[in-house]
């Protein structure tokens, strides 16, 4: 009686994401699945939920064997996945959500009283006594943590549930909320359900889980009972025992130590009291996991989100509080957003139109374009970021992910003039190795860093080591430490960010102009 994944393989085109993954979950146990971004966790979940078909391998559950699943078959088999983006209908009550799509009927009518009664029972049996939720509460009125619990109740109250897969459920939760969630997960496992718990946060693993599987580059890098694994072993399995990566040579700038970006006491959605200063020619990394508030921080600096408190200065001049991307650009701040497809690229427009959008109005006489200047800017930018192919007429969607990112980069580096603070949110997420190296090279070039400062977020320690001059560790919206990037103390950085505020953290250098080594 167990849940077994055996030799599952999956490729997208030439890119093999899962190279024969096997793992075995025992009923009543919580099984942790860890791995860096791109290790194959999400793909594996999709194979289990039926969203994608594996190319090879089997999925076995209590003696039944599947070579592929569809969403319907996965549901019939009793496999439920809870994603970070919840699938609840915000305007409906808890009981209406729990029975959505399998409503109870009495003749042609909805048996609402029965649905409410059963929901009430499910809430107290899954969440335990004192959960404080009413079956009639409108889901949209609940905090995220409670919505997540409702989603779990919804999944586990389906008849025949045998496997519950949770995709980074604690990423967006406070410690107290996460603790409550873990209690619920323990109770569910104790009832004999197989639980697969995907997480980045090591404390979750040691608190809750019975067995750990680590994926790296599509293979199982570690598979052990929790009791026999040490933290160092885990971080090593996640990041791999790579040779210390060679840092891109920095520019020989005589750093004038001119402060360029000064952020003090900035608070906003998902981050709080953030203070730091960066200088001309300096590249600062913000190391943070999913849910740490890293994207929200950058988007607020860029004026796309509202700041609740604090000030932002560029070159000594304060950026207006009621900001917008346009106002931020006027102040010299630009952003390469984290979600390329949704926030940055115009897929059907050609490369030149993608790169030049903000620059069109800068180049010509009022209200007119200057096509010769546009052509030159595009060519200069393509050269600077090593765009491949450097064809201005090709639609953006015909470029690889890495080259799409180069288009966006080129937009602020070569096309639009006047960027002094370049913000990049996860600049190399989902990008192949070659393009990644090109981007690092570009960002650390003399040409780019003269008169500019760069701030980027990442959850990849290698990226910090390769790109940053120093790194700020962001945990649940707070900067908990500042470390030099050369030499980089990876263990300390990972330790801080994974264990977060559960650990006694050395006092964070919160003061303005914090010392650089």
């Amino acid at each position: 009686m167990s849940f077994v994944i055996d030799g599952v393989r999956k490729s997208y085109g030439a890119n093999e994401v899962l190279k024969g993954v096997s793992l075995r979950c025992e009923p009543g146990q919580v099984h942790a699945l860890l791995g860096a971004n791109g290790a194959g966790k999400s793909t594996l979940i999709k194979c289990l939920s039926g969203a994608h078909m594996p190319d090879a391998g089997t999925i076995q559950l209590d003696g039944e064997v599947w070579t592929s699943l569809t969403p319907q078959r996965a549901a019939e088999a009793g496999i439920a996945v809870i994603y970070q983006h919840l699938s609840l209908v915000a305007s409906l009550s808890i009981s209406d959500n729990v029975f959505l799509g399998r409503e109870l009927r009495r003749g042609p009518l909805l048996a609402r009283a029965e649905q409410r009664r059963r929901t009430r029972e499910a809430l107290s049996s899954v969440l335990g006594p004192g959960h404080g939720l009413s079956e009639d509460t409108i889901v949209g009125d609940l905090p995220i943590a409670s919505q997540q619990l409702v989603e779990i109740v919804k999944a586990t109250s389906r008849p025949g549930i045998r496997v519950l897969i949770l995709d980074e459920p604690t990423a967006a939760l406070s410690d107290r909320e996460a603790g409550k969630l873990k209690d619920v997960v323990r109770r569910i496992a104790a009832s004999g359900v197989h639980v697969l718990f995907i997480t980045h946060i090591l404390s979750d693993v040691f608190d809750l889980c019975d067995r750990i599987t680590v994926l790296r580059d599509g293979v199982v890098a570690l598979d052990e009972p929790v009791g026999s694994v040490r933290t160092e072993q885990l971080t090593e399995a996640i990041t791999g025992r790579l040779p210390a990566p060679r840092r891109v040579a920095g520019p020989a700038l005589s750093r004038r130590r001119t402060p360029m970006l000064t952020v003090s006491g900035l608070s906003g959605e998902r981050f709080d009291d953030v203070t730091f200063t960066t200088h001309e020619g300096e590249v600062v990394g913000i190391f943070g996991l999913v849910g740490s508030g890293r994207s929200e921080l950058l988007e607020t600096l860029y004026g796309a989100r509202r700041a609740d408190a604090g000030t932002v200065q560029v070159g000594g001049r304060t950026v207006p509080r009621r900001s917008s991307p346009r106002a931020a650009l006027r102040a010299g701040i630009a952003l390469v957003p984290g979600d390329r497809a949704r926030q940055a690229v115009f897929p059907d427009l050609d490369a030149a139109d993608n790169v030049l959008q903000p620059a069109f109005g800068q180049l010509g006489p009022p209200l007119l374009r200057n096509r010769e200047a546009e052509r030159r800017r595009f060519a200069a930018g393509a050269d600077q970021v090593r765009l491949h192919p450097a064809d201005p007429t090709l639609p953006a969607q015909a470029f690889s992910g890495g080259n799409q990112q180069k288009l966006v980069l080129s937009r602020w580096l070569a096309a639009y003039q006047g960027v002094r603070v370049l913000l990049l949110d996860e600049p190399t997420q989902g990008i192949d190795v070659g393009a990644r190296a090109d981007i690092y090279q570009t960002l650390r070039s003399e040409e780019v860093l003269t008169g500019r400062t760069i701030v980027f977020t990442t959850s990849d320690p290698d990226e910090v080591a390769l790109l940053a001059d120093r790194v700020l560790v962001l945990v649940r919206g707070r900067i908990v430490a500042e470390l030099p990037a050369e030499p980089l103390d990876r263990n300390r950085m990972l330790h801080l960010s994974h264990l977060g505020i559960l650990d006694p953290v050395p006092t964070a250098p919160h003061t303005e102009g914090a010392s650089r080594p």
Partner: protein
């Protein structure tokens, strides 16, 4: 850079289903070519059918007349094309036409104003109503379909407030606008050609012309690229109102009358049909002015031919509706081809996969 090989370009697209050389590829290409030039083919078919039904159809006079009939639609189709590319739509243009025509006509016929000032005030009325549309959509943030449907009613009501009886008895100068000729070609045709040229120049030569596509294709990315979404769309709504006003005064001049209750009724759907049939995506971000010009001609040839063949009005109206729905269907078909998902369920599966991919990427 210099050593770009052809192979790189063809391997660059990923997962879009292209790239199989050989027969199938050619068949696909021919199919795509047919779809892309379907309007030219359609116009040719119409001309052949109508000429074989009545040999007098394909004469210079008939064609000139079709061109003249096309002008009112053409003028508004230009600005509406820009608007739809930016991801918005204006369903008030029929009523805006009437407001402008009735205002200008009333000032001339009842108040004795000169033609020039009356026309200018009429155009200003159209532009002002368009600006109100723009304000409500971009500043207040109401959906443009709702705003412009409401504005259609409001503007129609306003024309009745000005006068309930059809306005007529215009000045000679005003009648020239719709009925005069210049170098042997009707003045409205000159105006329509000018508006087309201006629209094309706007799209190609101005920064805003490039921004329109970006705004329509990915509004969030356009916002994060620092484009002024409000100003761009506000300008387009205002221009669309102005163009509707221009169409209104041309129509009033040609009819020698400005009936508040009937002028421009149903016009907005003709405009939308022309725009969508011309290959502009209803979802925004994609489209060319030239295709819309062909669509305007196609629709007017169709109407002239059906009228000539004495086809009942009912069928003419039905053909309009079919054209509107077919235009979007054609666009959908055209775009599914490239993704090798001709069947509706194939497309559904595709959409779901990308959605779950999004979930993974987004925070």
């Amino acid at each position: 850079m210099s050593q770009v090989k052809a192979a790189d370009v063809t391997t660059a697209p990923h997962g879009d289903g292209h790239g199989e050389p050989g027969q199938r590829w050619t068949a696909q290409r021919v199919g795509a070519l047919l779809v892309r030039n379907s309007l030219v083919i359609g116009i040719a078919v119409l001309l052949i059918v109508f000429t074989s039904a009545d040999s007098t159809f394909l004469t210079v006079d008939v064609l000139k007349n079709i061109a003249l009939q096309s002008t009112v639609l053409a003028v508004v189709a230009v600005t509406s094309t820009l608007l739809v590319i930016s991801g918005e739509v204006d369903l008030s243009v029929g009523s805006l036409e009437a407001v402008s025509a009735v205002t200008a006509g009333y000032l001339m016929a009842a108040s004795g104003w000169g033609a020039t000032t009356a026309v200018l005030v009429g155009l200003a009325a159209g532009a002002a109503a368009g600006a109100v549309n723009g304000f409500l959509v971009t500043v207040v943030g109401i959906n443009s379909i709702v705003v412009t449907l409401g504005m259609g009613n409001i503007a129609r009501g306003l024309t009745y407030l000005i006068t309930t009886a059809p306005v007529f008895g215009f000045t000679e100068g005003f009648l020239l606008l719709g009925n005069g000729t210049f170098l042997g070609i009707a003045i409205p045709i000159w105006i329509a050609v000018l508006v087309f040229a201006l629209g094309g120049a706007f799209l190609v030569l101005t920064p805003t012309g490039r921004h329109i596509y970006a705004v329509g294709m990915n509004r969030e990315a356009a916002y994060l690229a620092g484009l002024n979404l409000r100003r761009i769309r506000f300008v387009l709504f205002t221009l669309n109102g102005l163009a509707a006003g221009l169409a209104g005064v041309i129509l009033a001049s040609r009819l020698n009358s400005a009936p508040p209750g009937t002028l421009g009724v149903g016009f907005e759907l003709q405009v939308l049909t022309a725009v969508l049939l011309g290959g502009v995506a209803f979802t925004g971000g994609r489209g060319r002015l030239f295709g819309v010009l062909l669509a305007v001609l196609f629709l007017n040839i169709l109407q002239a031919g059906l009228t000539m063949m004495n086809v009942a009005n009912a069928w003419q109206q039905i053909s309009q509706g079919v054209a509107l729905i077919a235009s979007v269907g054609l666009d959908l078909f055209n775009h599914r081809r490239g993704r090798r998902a001709l069947l509706p369920w194939g497309r559904l599966r595709l959409t779901r996969n990308t959605t779950s991919g999004d979930q993974e990427v987004s925070r």
